[in-house]
Amino acid sequence: MVSTIQRETPANIVERERRKGRVSSVFIHLCLLVVAVIVVFPLLWVVGASFGPGGGLANTTPIPEDASFDNYVFLFTETGYGRWYLNSLYIATFNMVGGVALSALCGYVFARIRFRGRKFGMLAILVLQMFPSFLTAIAVYMLFLNFGLLDSLTGVALVGIAAALPYNTWLMKGYTDNLPASLDEAAALDGAGRITIFRKIMLPLMRPMLAFVAVMQFTMPWMDFILPRLLLQSRSKQTVALGLFDMITDQYANDFTTFAAGAVFLAVPITVIFVIMQRYLVAGAMAGAEKG
């Protein structure tokens, strides 16, 4: 690449610049290639292990010679993986629907309505958001333990919604703040009630932020470990994260290929969602930082 100001320089200098450019281009691609290998190798390795011959950790390769679906079959027939997957799916869906609905409504109210206690509410949200959610989880565990409420999937989802609600409300409020107020004022003049304005006008406009919160709320329970580990105890109520952790912490790592299959089966859908939604997700994360 030759920039405009160098156009009038003698030809030999241009030639040298071009060669320098080619060298640096090769160098850049070399760097990128090294990083790509580092990034891809562990992923390739676990995918390979999942298709490889069953057994321990020791004999795994990124590209197995006799690939088969044995590990996946084993995963769904011999372990509780299917059950765990459904459990996680239930928590994730509940978490997403509840989290998005509540935070959208609360965010809208905080952004658009001036009511007594609003300042206090915003402050409370800020403070609650700083309280790391797993600290709440530990207290919830002590409470549930003494009241015999452990082992409920809905309970896990509710705690998850409550833990994320302050931050999500903050995001929704920040996003709604930036939407033009003239739209809902016009609707109010036409006689629309608060609920109609919220449903028909604000919700469609809030769609990008809704998407961000929905993806976050849906994917979080799949990876969350502390809350389910604390609140779910019986074998049939495990989530995928718990099950995978137990497989890998087996002392002799005998289950490794089964773990690999389970990990791939968990990772692929979430990875696809993230890659598709990456633009929304980065924008949402930035919005969160700007607002606090």
Partner: protein
């Protein structure tokens, strides 16, 4: 019903007073505090004096519900000697439990185990009763203020507002509260209640040596805090873990940010072929669930069977297998590897972020820099870095806090190991949060765990507040 016996009975005449006094409606001589006072005693009576029966019924319903609830859940038989423990209802017994944490331990008697007090259940019930009372107090204050204010208006000669109109007006104004109430209830019971509970546990002796329902838990004030800061083994562990947590958080943030920045700059170069393909590949560690990647790395770095140890032996770099996370003589090796794995997991986020900022820097800035004779490095130093820095600083602080609390990576990768003989229940890579988790779940030292929670909250809270104030200031500029 039992409720006719005790508390409400002497107050029943109060509403009866209402029709007697305000025979004079508009220009009443009755001063405003009178209905206010009446409403303070029995909610709603003030409204009745003001001749607003609808409103009166509304407030009285809360009052009656609270009293009835207390009566039904308690044991209010006339003539029986009253103790809060045996006779108190939801509120009285709740508050009693909160203050005393129970006074009757479970004992072995001839008929088997006696029914003792479960301190933790009492504590939790007490908090719930207290929170409910707080919510009721809002209604009470509302009732009193409303009664006094209406009276003032009546005194000024205004026509009294009909209750139905009032509620219609309130409905319009109360949309905010009604819309917020589901979220509020959820937060009160799933966040505020547990947080209060967790904070209070720090001031008790609730741990594995003192577990209900066999034993009673007591309030011990600041003893647990004192224990951590005076018993050398606790202080040593705490300071060691705290120092490592800070080192970890700083290095983790710095490395991921620098790597992300460099890659974003490389990818922004016009010489790169297929930038979108590279970008998508580099985003993979961010998109793959963190627990999966961390567990995969745990397997790769498995000392006995892992492929990395094997590879190093195969190429002759090491004579025997390296026990990355379990070698107590080499804690820094485990720490370094944990940081590297964190780098792998964390750089894509910053790469995406910086990439977004870079596309928004106008080309004219670089053009101007080139005209001024700046080379590539100088352009980077004086144009790119300052602009990116300004956008990313609040995110860096957030990333620092996230690293500070990065439970997942450390726990999944090393479970805190390698063991450290100088530490109590902690390994060399344990962060405050993983230590806290082990204290609570594995060792059932609930009170010490609670103290740790408070400390972590103060550290994180201070940093967050500082960040917030700073970013606010930036936004106002």
């Amino acid at each position: 019903m039992v409720s006719t016996t005790k508390t409400p009975s002497p107050r029943v005449p109060t509403p009866g007073r209402a029709p007697r006094e305000p025979g004079n409606t508009g220009s009443s001589a009755l001063p405003a505090p009178v209905p206010g006072l009446a409403s303070a005693l029995v909610w709603g009576t003030g409204q009745l004096i003001n001749r607003q029966p609808g409103k009166a019924a509304f407030f009285f319903a809360f009052y009656a519900t609270a009293i009835t609830w207390e009566m039904v859940t308690g044991n209010y038989y006339a003539g029986m000697e009253f103790t809060a423990r045996a006779n108190g209802g939801f509120f009285v017994r709740g508050l009693w439990g909160l203050v005393t944490l129970g006074d009757t331990p479970r004992e072995m008697s001839l008929t088997g185990l006696s029914e003792g007090d479960n301190s933790i259940v009492l504590l939790a019930n007490g908090i719930i009763a207290l929170l409910t009372l707080c919510l009721l107090a809002i209604v009470a204050i509302w009732s009193v203020r409303d009664a006094a204010r209406c009276r003032t208006r009546l005194g000024a000669g205004e026509a009294p507002e009909r209750s139905a109109d009032y509620f219609r007006r309130i409905w319009e104004g109360a949309f905010a509260y009604i819309a917020l109430s589901p979220g509020l209830v959820l937060i009160v019971f799933m966040s505020v209640l547990p947080i209060t509970f967790g904070v209070l546990v720090a001031f008790t002796d609730y741990n594995r040596d003192n577990l209900p329902p066999m034993n009673l838990v007591n309030w011990v004030g600041l003893d647990t805090f004192a224990q951590i800061f005076t018993v050398p083994s606790w202080t040593g562990t705490f300071l060691g873990v705290l120092a490592w947590t800070f080192v970890w958080a700083i290095l983790a943030t710095a490395t991921t940010y620098c790597a992300g920045f460099l890659l974003a700059v490389l990818l922004a170069s016009k010489k790169v072929r297929f930038p979108r393909v590279w970008r998508t590949i580099f985003l993979l560690p961010w998109a793959v669930p963190g627990i999966v990647s961390a567990l995969v790395f745990r397997a790769m770095f498995n000392g006995q069977f892992g492929p990395i140890s094997q590879f190093l032996v195969d190429i002759g770099l090491t004579d025997e297998r390296v026990y990355w996370f379990t070698d107590p003589t080499n804690p820094n090796l485990a720490r370094a590897v944990a940081l590297l794995v964190n780098l792998w997991l964390g750089f894509p986020f910053f790469m995406a972020l910086v990439g977004g900022v870079l596309t928004n820097i106008p080309d004219s800035y670089y053009e101007a820099a080139r005209i001024d004779g700046a080379g590539t490095l100088q352009q980077l130093r004086y144009v790119t870095v300052p602009i990116v820095q300004r956008t990313c600083t609040p995110l860096l602080v957030l990333a620092f806090v996230a690293a500070f609390n990065n439970f997942g990576l450390v726990y999944f990768l090393t479970e805190g190991g390698p063991d450290n003989v100088d530490y109590r229940f902690a390994g060399s890579t344990d962060l405050l949060v993983t230590w806290l988790f082990k204290l609570t779940l594995d060792n059932r030292l609930y009170n010490i765990g609670a103290v740790m929670s408070i400390i972590v909250f103060f550290i994180v809270g201070t940093i967050s507040v500082w960040n917030l104030r700073r970013s606010r200031a930036i936004r106002e500029l």
